[in-house]
């Protein structure tokens, strides 16, 4: 049998798709011909290697990122601001709230903190809190003033969900956009069993000021805990 024919039939031969006589002829040829033997060996190695070709694990944050992106991309366009402007406006507001659910008595805080956001500019409010222990079944509830929307929740004013808190630092990311100048308090309550903590952030809305650098400065507050 000709080497070129064997080259052509190599796959069918390996897949057992050839008639017995033909397969036997190829077998016999391969034993005698070094070129075809090598070719056959390469074909075997190729199949093995393709099967063993590794796939790296998925990036841990990719999942969260891609689902948020998909939701965001499918939203009807309400912002008139150019895309780059919106990126620049994604300032981080950091609130640090001491230890959550501390066993010691809760102190009464200095009252509400205030933040100023520009109308129609998306802002991320980030709440960072610590927990001494891992807690399952924590109820989070969030109340938003009229005109302030939480990304992905449209005009929903009250959002309640269940989740777990891990020991150590926990970060809650709230992307908000104000659609009116009214503003008002954002009230976040975390409840675990009989215990609960409430955080209040007063939102003041201003007309969009595109070049105001001070509006882009990250804020960081230390807030004491106000028990409910």
């Amino acid at each position: 049998m000709d080497c070129m024919i064997i080259k052509e039939k190599m796959d069918d031969f390996m897949d057992g798709q050839l008639e017995a006589a033909c397969a036997a002829a190829i077998c016999e040829h391969i034993q005698k011909c070094a070129t075809c033997r090598k070719r056959h060996a390469i074909a075997i190695r190729l199949r093995e290697t393709l099967k063993a070709l590794p796939v790296p694990p998925i990036d841990k944050v990719f999942g969260d990122r891609v689902f948020r992106y998909a939701v965001e991309r499918n939203k009807p366009y309400r912002q008139v601001l150019p895309y780059l402007m919106r990126i620049a406006a994604a300032v981080l507001f950091v609130f640090a709230f001491g230890y959550l659910f501390q066993k010691t008595p809760w102190g009464v805080g200095s009252g509400m903190e205030a933040i100023t956001v520009s109308m129609e500019l998306r802002r991320e409010i980030r709440l960072l809190f610590n927990s001494e222990e891992t807690l399952a079944n924590v109820t989070f509830s969030l109340e938003l003033p009229k005109g302030v929307e939480l990304e992905g929740f449209g005009e929903q004013r009250k959002i309640v969900w269940e989740g777990a808190i891990e020991k150590g630092s926990n970060l809650l990311v709230l992307p908000v956009t104000a659609h009116s100048l009214e503003g008002g308090p954002i009230i976040a309550v975390l409840r675990h069993g009989e215990r609960s903590k409430q955080f209040t952030v007063n939102v003041k809305v201003t007309n969009p000021v595109y070049n105001d650098k001070s509006a882009n400065r990250p804020h960081r507050y230390e807030m004491s805990i106000i028990p409910t």
């Binding site: 080259k7 190599m10 796959d11 090598k38 070719r39 060996a41 390469i42 074909a43 190729l46 199949r47 290697t49 393709l50 099967k51 063993a52 070709l53 590794p54 796939v55 790296p56 694990p57 998925i58 990036d59 990719f62 999942g63 969260d64 891609v66 689902f67 948020r68 992106y69 998909a70 939701v71 991309r73 499918n74 981080l92 950091v94 640090a96 001491g98 980030r126 960072l128 969030l142 939480l150 990304e151 992905g152 929740f153 959002i159 309640v160 969900w161 269940e162 989740g163 808190i165 891990e166 150590g168 630092s169 926990n170 970060l171 809650l172 990311v173 709230l174 992307p175 960081r220 230390e222």
Partner: protein, 197 residues
């Protein structure tokens, strides 16, 4: 007390969408690893694989009402992922050279750690890494249809009969794509001396 969350903070991050548990995400999230895995097979690099999954999920969001009606999610997803792959490649018209260059630029280390234990011998690992890298380059020289069939048949282990149904592509077409793909790969690797001892 100073909190910095930008870098280095090991915080569990909650996004509000988590709580929303939309049908869309609830239905698709369990298949995310699968989608990434197959996409990675198609492209051989993380960047393009993630792009493909992202494009698919954006598209599916607009059809989210249909999702709950899908009987068997995985085969259905595989079919539309395949179509999205073919479609994306058509749009991008990336040259094989571009494919390789981008992959190298992305500098994703070959995950040798993932190899089975019996390849723990260092020399063998290095050798494997070279072979993998040469095979990935050779795969980059196949056309998208050949790459898809090699990915699904030779890497993922689907049979041609399964693929005929899954991808809705005639068996004869699949056979000839596979045949051409393998022949081309063998030729490239033969020339390179990839498997020569």
């Amino acid at each position: 007390m100073d909190f910095s969350i930008d870098e280095g903070t090991q915080a569990k991050i909650y996004y509000l969408e988590d709580s929303r548990k939309s049908t869309y995400e609830t239905l698709l999230r369990p298949h995310l690893n699968f989608l990434f895995r197959i996409s990675y097979r198609f492209y051989g690099n993380r960047m393009d694989a993630e792009d493909l999954v992202q494009d698919l999920l954006v598209k599916l969001y607009s059809r989210k009402e249909d999702l709950s009606k899908v009987d068997k999610m995985r085969p259905w997803l595989l079919r539309i992922l395949y179509r999205q792959f073919v479609d994306n490649s058509r749009k991008k018209k990336r040259s094989p050279l571009g494919y390789i260059t981008r992959r190298l630029e992305a500098a994703e280390p070959t995950p040798v750690e993932m190899l089975p234990d019996h390849t723990s011998d260092l020399e063998e690992r290095v050798c494997n890494r070279m072979v993998f890298s040469q095979i990935r380059e050779a795969l980059g020289l196949l056309d998208k249809y050949q790459r898809a069939v090699i990915s699904l048949h030779d890497m993922e282990g689907y049979t041609l009969n399964e693929l005929e149904i899954l991808l809705e592509v005639p068996l004869g077409t699949l056979k000839s794509r596979l045949h051409r793909a393998r022949t081309k790969l063998r030729c490239i690797l033969e020339k390179k001396g990839t498997f020569s001892v």
